[in-house]
Structure formats: C-alpha cells, structure tokens
C-alpha cells in the first residue's frame, strides 16, 4: 500500500513538471500580452485539475496492473528456450509468436492512448461527424500493429533501420498524392499521437528484450528504433482508410458528380 502511495506521489510530481511550464506559458500570455481575464477561469482550472489527476491515476493504474506483466511476457516470449532455438541461432521465422504478440499489444495500447482519443474527438467535431472516433482509432491501431511487426522483424534480421524508414516515407509520399486532401494533415498527426503514454513503455520493453536475447544484437543500438516504426505506419493506414472510403463513395455514386467524403 505504501508502495502504491509512493508511486502515486512520484507520478504526480512528474506530471506536474510536465504541466507547469504549459500553464505558465498559457497564463503568461493571457495576462501580460492579451491583458484579458480568462473566460470561465474556475472551470478551466478545474479542467486542468481533472486532466492531471486523471493522467496520474491512469499511469499508476497501468504501472500497477499491466506494465509489469507486459514486460515480463516480452522477456518470456523472446526467451530462446521458449522459441525452441536454445543454443543455436534462429532464423526470422522462429519468431512468429513475437511478431504476433507485438502486433496485438501495439494495436491494443495504441487504441487506448489518451492523446489519440483527444485528437479523434477533435477531428470528429471539426469534420462534422464525417470522421468517426472509432474508425480513426482502429485505423491508427492497425498501423501501429503493422509497424511494430515490421520493427521486430528488423531487430531479428538486423537490417539497417534507415532503409525501412526511407521505404515507408516513399509510400507515404505516393499515397499523399492520391489521398483526399481533407485527411492529409490529420493522417500526418496520427503518427505522433500513438506514442504518448501507454505504448512507449510496452514497446520499449519489447525492443530491449528482443535485442538482448538475439546473438549479435546490441540492446542499446538495436533496441531503439521500434517507436519510429510505430509512429510512421499509422500515417499509411489512416491515408489508406480515407482512400478506401473515398473509393467506395465514388464507386457507389459513379453516375453522380464526385462528392467530398
């Protein structure tokens, strides 16, 4: 119990350190530059309080319940004895369970990411309901899952990361040319929001565990880079989701003039 309380205090401190500069910038500009009182000040401050308390409970709950188990499982699943290749060097196909676990975990944690829910809510409101909160979250989750499966494959094979990243960028650029204009900025944003609080600790544990058990991989050099995959793949899937919706809308209305989705 005392351990739980200590963790609550630690997380609260870290979150406050994160929020205070933000609050300082906001209040400073509002009071000194704009010289205006903040509309509904008490409500806004209460909202900030809710955000901080909510985030602290969220993080402590994850740390209490799921992160230790997730980390432990990442270690067990990457253990050569479990994979049946103890004493030898496995090929990339011996690690199928690892890719599967990584993909499922990335999907689940990316869709639960508070920052993604926030952006999806905003996009839903701005687009007048044309972009569904759930649809966007699932598209981003699928992207994170594909990205991490490819990222773990890269750690296993030891191929240089920048080839993958360049190929991903090339695909994104080609997709951008054909995607509906409305979705482009949102799609680019959805890369960065997947990795805020839930995904990074789980994904980092997986990468470090994997790089630590494979002969010839340096945990610090090869363990990094997974997050980059998780960040860039959702851009492709969100663009793809919009292209699919656009294509289906056009096919359904071939005789009518093309409408914006």
């Amino acid at each position: 119990m005392t351990e739980l309380l200590a963790r609550l205090a630690d997380t609260a401190l870290a979150t406050l350190r994160d929020v205070l500069p933000l609050l300082a910038v906001l209040l400073g500009f509002q009071l000194w530059i704009l010289r205006q009182p903040i509309p509904q000040l008490r409500r806004v401050l209460a909202g900030f309080g809710y955000v901080v308390v909510g985030l602290v409970l969220f993080l402590v709950g994850l740390e209490e319940a799921l992160f230790p188990l997730g980390r432990l499982m990442a270690r067990q699943l990457t253990d050569p004895a479990f994979l049946g290749i103890a004493g030898g060097v496995g090929t990339w196909s011996d690690y199928l369970w690892v890719y599967g676990f990584a993909a499922a975990l990335a999907f689940a944690s990316a869709t639960a990411e508070p920052a993604l829910i926030a952006v999806a809510m905003k996009a839903n409101a701005v687009s007048g309901g044309a972009i569904g909160v759930r649809g966007l979250r699932v598209a981003v989750g699928l992207g994170a899952a594909l990205g991490i499966a490819l990222g773990t494959f890269r750690i296993v094979t030891g191929l240089p990361i920048h080839y993958f990243i360049m190929a991903i960028y090339a695909v994104i650029m080609v997709q951008t040319l054909y995607a509906p204009r409305m979705i482009i900025a949102l799609a680019y944003d959805s890369g960065g929001v997947t990795t805020s609080t839930v995904t990074v600790p789980l994904v980092a544990a997986l990468g470090l565990g994997l790089a630590g058990t494979i002969p010839g991989r340096d945990p610090v050099v090869d363990g990094f880079g997974l997050i980059a995959f998780v960040c860039s793949f959702p851009i492709m899937t969100v663009l793809g989701y919009a292209q699919l919706a656009d294509w289906r809308a056009r096919r359904a209305a071939t005789r009518q003039p093309r409408r914006e989705i």
Binding site: D18, V19, P21, L22, L26, F29, L34, I38, P39, R43, V44, G47, G49, Y50, V51, V53, G54, L55, V56, F58, V60, G61, E64, A65, L66, G70, M73, A104, L105, S109, T111, P114, A115, A118, V119, K122, A123, V126, S127, H162, I165, M166, M173, T176, M182, A185, L186, Y188, D189, G191, G192, T195, S196, V200, V220, F224, G225, I227, A228, C231
Partner: protein, 244 residues
C-alpha cells in the same frame, strides 16, 4: 443527481472498454501461449479500475479546460493581429512543454550512455550529464521551431505535405552523416516528445487558429502541428550527433 451518477458510470464504462483490448491480449498470450497463470490478479483488477477512472477524468478535463483555453487563446491572438507575439507564443508553447517532458529526460540519459559507450564522449558523469542536457535543449528547440513553422503554415495556408516532404528529405540526407549509435535514438525521439497533455492543447491551438482566419479550413489547415513536432526532433538530434 441520478442522471449525473448515470453519466459518471457511463464514462467509467467507456474507460474500461478502452482498456479491454490490452487485457484480452495479455490474458490470451499468458494463458494460451505461455500457459502460465496470471499473477497478482487482485492488483491487476485494482490497476484497471484506476486506469478507467483516470481516463474518464482526463477526457472530461480536456473538454472543460484544455480544449477551450487552447482555442480561446488562438482566437484572441489571431484577433490581436500581431504576428510576432503569435509566433513567440507558438515557440514558448513547444519549447516549454518539451524541455521538462519526463520521457525525454529518460531518453536523453539513455542516449548519453550510448554515446559514452561508443566513445563519442568521455565516459564520465559530467560528460554524460552535459551531453544529455544538450540533447534535451536540442529537442525542445526543435519542437519550438516545429510549432512556429506549423503556425506560420496555417497563416499562409501552405499544403502540409510540401513541408513534410522537406522534413523527410532532411532526415534521409542527414542519416549517413550522423553517428550510427544515434540514428535509432534520433528516430525514436520524434515520437516521445508529444505527451498526452501537449497533444490536445496543440491540436486545439491549430484548429482554433485555422477557424479564426478567413479562408482556412480547420480540417485541412488546422491539423499538422503534431506532425511537425514529431519530425523536427529527428533532424535536430541527428545534427546534434553529427556536430558533437
């Protein structure tokens, strides 16, 4: 009162539903693949309850506090009509929220260890602390620059993908010049700089700005700030690694 209770229960339920996929994945792999019992079941249930309460409070706080103040500031700054103040605000917001970010502090320390191991810097506490601090300032500067650039783009109405393409080219060109040890960290640093509190606020800023300027569409022009904020750190960190 009962309506309020019902609303609270509904948000709690949606919090549990958001978490359900993680529980299912971990449960399935633990029981079906690894074939081991789930340890500390009561701790997991307690943690899941905390997560559900936390997430519903967080989302409620966003609607009450972060979204409205982000948008009202964007409106007020656009009405004031001073480009310098607007860009200064954008920079302060990006720099201020990043420099104290806990994940960034952790990553910077890790990067300093890698650099010391690779012989890039001396393997002493002072040299590592110095390197980590420089890295933090570099990333914070890059996020500040990104928000300034993104706000400027919203004002001008430039298509977002030209700037992103430029950023991608920067990443690709810099990669061969950066030390091999730093490349993975640089690529990752793009993702970790955007925290759960910064993202909603920056999004509200962009959307508020785009809706208060005539001829800008909040959907096309309002988003994209986060994309810049996750791209520029890659470039700045590789440049930092190459120049040190």
């Amino acid at each position: 009162m009962s309506a309020r209770l019902l609303a609270t229960l509904a948000t709690l339920f949606s919090g549990v539903r958001d978490l359900l996929p993680i529980i299912v994945v971990i449960g399935f792999f633990q029981i079906a693949v690894l074939q081991q019992p789930v340890p500390h079941l009561e701790r997991i249930l307690l943690g899941a309850l905390l997560v559900a309460i936390g997430l519903s409070l967080f989302l409620r706080g966003l609607e009450m506090g972060l979204f409205p103040i982000g948008e009202s500031l964007a409106y007020a700054l656009a009405r004031k009509g001073s480009l310098a103040w607007l860009l200064l605000f954008a920079f302060a917001l990006g720099f201020g929220t990043t420099v104290a970010e806990p994940t960034l502090i952790a990553i910077a320390g890790e990067a300093a260890r890698v650099a010391a191991g690779g012989g890039v810097i001396a393997d002493s506490d002072a040299a590592r602390a110095d390197y980590a601090f420089g890295l933090r300032i570099t990333v914070a500067l890059s996020v500040g620059t990104a928000i300034v650039l993104g706000v400027f783009r919203i004002l001008k109405g430039w298509p977002v993908h030209y700037l992103i393409l430029g950023g991608y080219l920067g990443v690709v060109v810099l990669t061969p010049f950066a030390p091999a040890e730093i490349v993975g960290i640089a690529y990752d640093s793009g993702g970790v700089t955007t925290s759960s509190i910064t993202v909603p606020l920056v999004t509200a800023l962009g959307v508020g700005l785009a809706s208060s300027i005539r001829g800008r569409n909040p959907m096309i022009d309002g988003f994209g700030l986060i994309a810049f904020a996750s791209l520029t750190p890659m470039i700045f960190v590789m440049a930092y690694g190459a120049l040190r």
